[in-house]
Symmetry: none
Subunit: 254 residues, 2 copies
DNA sequence: CGAATTCGTGTCAATTAACGAAAAATGCAT
DNA sequence: ATGCATTTTTCGTTAATTGACACGAATTCG
């Protein structure tokens, strides 16, 4: 009776999901009795719920006749991530970055060895860098790309190595130089592009990650060098890093 | 008596999961009315189910007042995969395979009569085969699947036999042809798919096993036929086989 | 700017569908 | 075989889920 009249909860659905959660959290399968004991349900109830979950493909019987979670839960959950509207989640911090820097802000995801810009906010200043939404850039020479690359360098290094082509006199084309740059990036927490893709356009990038650490995109700021004053590199770097971290935290709350 | 008596399904649980699946499969949030229409439920019913899902943390309200799936589904599902930390164990050799072949690399596990791709590394080449992570394929017509199938053929043969359906003109639909192919696969040590699932996409697979010999997954390489030169079949076959064996050995050390 | 939809959210009584207890079946160890 | 433990089925009861209806707010349309 002490309960605050909580929101109406369909008990069947609730119990079913509890069972599913229990089964996914455990390495081996579980039997009806064990399950009912731990979740404080009747055996018959547990049994019927399990039948339903099986019919729906969320649970299967193991050879040893216990019940175990299938990969369906994972598949369903996976599509959340794939459809996750990064744009929405990042919008606020992009606005913040735009306000703070007055420069062009990008939201990028990886596609092979490129980044694709899935959103941006234009610079307010006369000199603009114009990469359209949907546009791409090589992963190893722009801020957003380098941030993402640094997070997956173990896997991607050997793939980019033979693909390093020159865009400006700043472009890193030597794999060992890239190794050093990536190491520095990981340490620093944000990536710096010193005009390696477009002449005189610097950019900065920091990763957006899911709760498990999987990097799914990056925020970036693009700045014409003439706009840069002393100390701005660190200032902007810190800003993107903070913004990207905030987005990551927002994602965790979803 | 020929009809398998329909399994008893709790409608509440079933409907709730349907809603969840719908919400996870869609980019933007959905409203009560829209959901009820698409799933053929009454508005009140949908509304209450959504309340429940919110209370349990699976659904949240968007700023625009629509309902959307949270990351909870993903978190729950992820633990299924986590409990087999195959991904970690295989990551290194997947990178190696990617580096050696430049083609798309898959890590797959069996789920019933399908394989589910739990990780992949994209090909660098322009022509890609894109099976998403979480995607599935019939066990009897792709490289990874055939590898796994060959290891459990005694048990699975009679289950797949009535399920052999045609996907391309190369698909094996005759159980005796499959018998021969499986025998050859076991001998060879790796599986070859000659474009049996997707036209002109060949694939190769080799098993990952626990120390006791239990096969828990497979590594695979997927190659558009145009990329294949003379002798590549054996070369790639040997590569996956070596990679899968190495992963198995890593697992033994855990 | 007002009218007409469309939507989300309550209410409530009818009835369905989920429930628990207990019995039947199955499996396992001795 | 015999006894214990677990899984599965059955069944009558009732509580929980349901759908129709209603209302206000928001949105669209004329």
């Amino acid at each position: 009776m002490t309960e605050p009249i909580e929101p109406r909860v369909d008990s069947t659905l609730s119990k079913g999901l509890k069972i599913l959660e229990k089964l996914t959290s455990v390495k081996a399968g579980m039997g009806v009795s064990e399950l009912s004991r731990e979740l404080d349900l009747t055996k018959s109830n547990t049994f019927r719920l399990l039948q339903t979950l099986m019919a729906l493909g969320y649970v299967r019987r193991e050879p040893d006749k216990s019940y175990a979670a299938t990969l369906k839960t994972w598949q369903v959950g996976r599509s959340v991530v794939e459809n996750l509207n990064l744009r929405t989640a990042a919008a606020e911090m992009m606005a913040y970055l735009s306000h703070e820097t007055k420069e062009t802000i990008y939201l990028a995801v990886r596609d092979g060895l490129n980044v694709v810009y899935i959103d941006k906010i234009e610079s307010l200043k006369p000199i603009r860098s114009w990469n359209p939404i949907g546009g791409t850039a090589p992963i190893y020479c722009v801020g957003t790309g380098k941030a993402i690359l640094s997070a997956n360098y173990a896997i991607l290094r050997d793939q980019v190595a033979p693909e390093l082509q020159l865009f400006t006199d700043k472009t890193i084309t030597d794999i060992e130089a890239l190794d050093r740059d990536m190491a520095a990036t990981q340490l620093r927490g944000y990536a710096v592009d010193t005009g390696e893709f477009r002449q005189n356009i610097l950019s900065f990038g920091a990763n957006i990650a899911l709760p498990d650490g999987e990097v799914i995109g990056a925020l970036g700021v693009s700045v014409p060098d003439v706009n840069l004053a002393e100390g701005d590199v660190e200032k902007i770097g810190a800003l993107v890093q903070h913004a990207a971290r905030t987005v990551s935290e927002n994602l965790a709350r979803l």
